[in-house]
Subunit: 491 residues, 2 copies
């Protein structure tokens, strides 16, 4: 999705580059202090942020509702989710395994040469920039997962606030500033200031959640620096849902109504919104599908810019000769109103027209009918990489088919008989995937391993005990897991 | 270092792009078979490669010596090191921890929503390209660490052979082909074919060891793809060595002679060759330094192209007004002959002239004198990121100074009272570092975690036991470490 162009700077003194440089200078100053905190002290910062979110939840939700129109219940739930995230990273920091400590004692008999003492751990990269998302004003914004994981890593953060909720961003920052060390978190506004952050010499990595086009532009900018830096972009995803003939026959009506609920949850404004539903030809569920989508009333979108982009993409799909509209909600006068829509086509047409495989951010999706297992698999092989892919099947009858479907689907999360919306915040969660769903398939923006994006390994060779960082010492004063000679963890 | 331009293709049928496409098509076909191997079967492939290297060591060393002139003893040692590498990755594959399995059981009481069953592991990225290095015809070439770690990950490899040892590359490939599944390893030649590999749609990641300029060009190419892919380049490094006043006074003569031995080992053709020696002003070791470097005879370089690049860079440094030559070996008629050299300047001059901070690949280095701790630290803060940094100090007297030096040095490996050349092949080794020493500071090309470059996480949500990959099953048939709820490892 695209955001409006920022207002021009009133004068040179507040040019985007200077605004960015002031913010990153604060972060640079804070970096050594943050990196030097003990693990319990670092965890306590994250818990303090969770507490302040809870203490101010009512006010935060009001400000957020005024800017985003996501609804009070959803917003209060998102605040709780964001608290859960912060506490999860606090637990991860205290457990210490995220430092990935590995110790290889010296070995005078090693081949082809004697081995020195090698002790390795992860250290923070330094100040990082985070671009927050419009659709999660808490969980992927100023105090969201990118910020929480970066602080957990020991990195100061400069957040580029989303234009969709500037007031909430400032309020979140104000509350955070009261509990964090100076410079640990700064918020800036404006697209050009965001671009200046990406090229600022003090910034060592960037996290981004948003559109594929916007993310690609910033990814290219990060890669074009004299000193390229890691850019972790979570971009668009089609999130296909495949229903086997067996599942369709057994519980097609339930699947269809749950599918439409997932598509239209929060007006379809999720990166995990299912955009493709594969059903066997002759599924006989047209009536169910039409009734379910028609029953969803239009609702407020995050902003008029979302409505504009939604109707532009939807219009192109509707006009496509290979696509038939099953249901279109008439467009409202309010440019911020959603218009749920359901389209259909065939697997053969998807293979012939790859331009059908585009994300339509909002409450629209495409039902794709397949005539055979080969027709289905051939089409799944043409899908771009995604954050998620879902299979609805029967167990154990569909075992062989399900294995072939799993192998054909290129995604970061594979879901069985469920729905991709509602990403669980747990240590093992992976929220990432092959291009174009992210710029970096090795990494995740949700889950415990999100912290690894902001750290780099350092090996210490024959370093005396007193000069080693605490986690690498023989005495292990912080009691962190230490893997010896590549073996299992111990303490 | 630059390599000669390749000969033009004789006809369209063997254009670089077609040669690359044929190789990657073989790799694509092999990918599912390789990914599906059990861990013991995958480990056995790596051990078979180590065996075939040992069984053919004499012949391999002869062919390598003819092409590289590195000397029989060094080459036999490098073959043993390469066997050690392959066996280390075999052990890592069998242990299973590299799959980074994490399991979060369902939790109906979780806030803000019930948690599903989430099981996460790493899976192979698919076919990868590896650009081999000139200076390690075994350890960083066809069967070197990049290939070994990618096969360990389950990824087929297409190696772009280095122009410096094409015959050895073909022989290595021939021996490997006899023990690997078809398509698991392919070797191609020629710079343009290498570029075509980087943009080939089937290639999912690239490993590279070589010059900063060459690596940067390929990094930019990988990032410019319609679907950008990870590019792991190990580039140049200055590898500073800092000697404290205490260490200089106590054992300056020994340090100097060991330093010159490290600089000139294998004619200085190591990415870890120390290029900067920081000594306190008035160190009184000029005579020792001059005698040590003058005693090193010229030797054969890897090729005439190394000699050309060496003399070009050395000439620019010698001509610099802030630099004084301590010793210059007269240039030989043989363009492939080395000419050991030692230059000197001051810390203040290094700060004033950042162009002095350039790698000179070969047996040359720069002695930098400092007048105070601040003079030293201010200068260390200006150094680019490196693979290594070394401190020679006295313990415990230098404790405070050593901590400040450690904090000022930006490198992937910090060495105490030792030398950076001779990278130990152990699970915890980190051979990487901040730009410009690598394109990706999170990763390493030596050590057990090198395998992580070729894998991406996948999370399975509520997947039935029978449909889960073996490492994620409750029964754990492969007996791999499974971390539950973010806790410590168990089996």
């Amino acid at each position: 999705m695209s955001a409006p162009a920022p207002a021009p700077s009133p004068d040179g003194a507040s040019s985007p580059a200077r605004t960015a440089a002031r913010a990153t200078a604060r972060a640079r100053t804070a970096a050594p202090e943050l990196a030097a905190l003990s693990l319990p002290a670092r965890a306590e910062l994250l818990r303090a942020l969770a507490r302040t979110l809870g203490e101010n939840a009512r006010h935060l939700a009001d400000v957020a509702e005024n800017e985003t129109r996501l609804g009070a219940e959803r917003l209060r739930g998102e605040i709780r989710r964001t608290q859960t995230q912060l506490r999860m990273f606090a637990d991860i920091v205290e457990a210490g395994a995220f430092l990935d400590v590995m110790i290889d004692p010296p070995d005078p008999a090693a081949e082809p040469a004697p081995r020195p003492d090698i002790r390795r751990m992860l250290v923070p990269l330094g100040p990082v920039a985070v671009f927050s998302a419009s659709n999660f004003p808490f969980a992927f914004s100023v105090l969201g997962g990118d910020t929480a994981s970066a602080l957990a890593a020991g990195c100061p953060v400069v957040v580029k606030a989303h234009e969709g909720h500037p007031g909430l961003s400032d309020l979140s920052h104000e509350l955070a500033a009261a509990v964090l060390p100076a410079g640990a978190l700064t918020v800036v506004h404006g697209r050009e200031t965001g671009r200046a952050l990406v090229t600022d010499p003090d910034i060592r990595a960037v996290g981004f959640t948003g559109s594929t086009s916007g993310g690609r532009a910033l990814f290219d900018l990060a890669g074009s620096r004299p000193d390229p830096i890691p850019f972790y972009g979570e971009l668009g995803s089609l999130n296909p849902v495949v229903v086997t003939p067996g599942a369709c026959a057994e519980r097609g009506a339930d699947i269809v109504s749950e599918y439409i609920a997932s598509v239209t949850l929060s007006q379809g404004q999720f990166c995990t919104k299912p955009g493709l539903l594969f059903l066997p030809a002759g599924h006989g569920l047209e009536g169910q599908l039409r009734r379910a989508i028609a029953a969803v009333p239009p609702g407020p979108l995050l902003g008029a810019w979302i409505g504009t982009a939604y109707h532009a993409t939807l219009g192109q799909l509707v006009a496509h000769p290979a696509v038939h509209a099953m249901h279109l909600t008439p467009r409202q006068d309010d440019p911020r109103a959603s218009a749920p829509a359901l389209l259909t086509t065939t697997a053969e047409a998807v293979r012939a027209h790859p331009d059908l495989l585009r994300e339509c951010f909002g409450p629209a999706s495409l039902v794709v009918t397949y005539t055979s297992t080969d027709d289905l698999l051939d089409t799944l092989h043409t899908l771009p990489g995604g954050l998620t892919a879902t299979i609805h099947g029967q167990e154990p009858q569909d075992g062989t088919l399900a294995r072939r479907l799993s192998a054909a689907l290129s995604a970061g999360r594979l879901i069985w008989n469920g729905w991709p919306t509602g990403v669980a915040v747990t240590p093992a969660m992976h929220h990432g995937g092959p291009w174009p769903s992210t710029t970096s398939p090795l990494h995740t923006s949700v889950g415990g391993t999100a912290v690894a994006r902001w750290m780099r390994p350092v090996a210490y060779q024959n370093m005396p005990e007193a000069l080693l960082p605490e986690p690498l010492r023989r005495m292990n004063p912080w009691n962190v897991p230490q893997r010896v000679n590549g073996g299992s963890e111990g303490r």
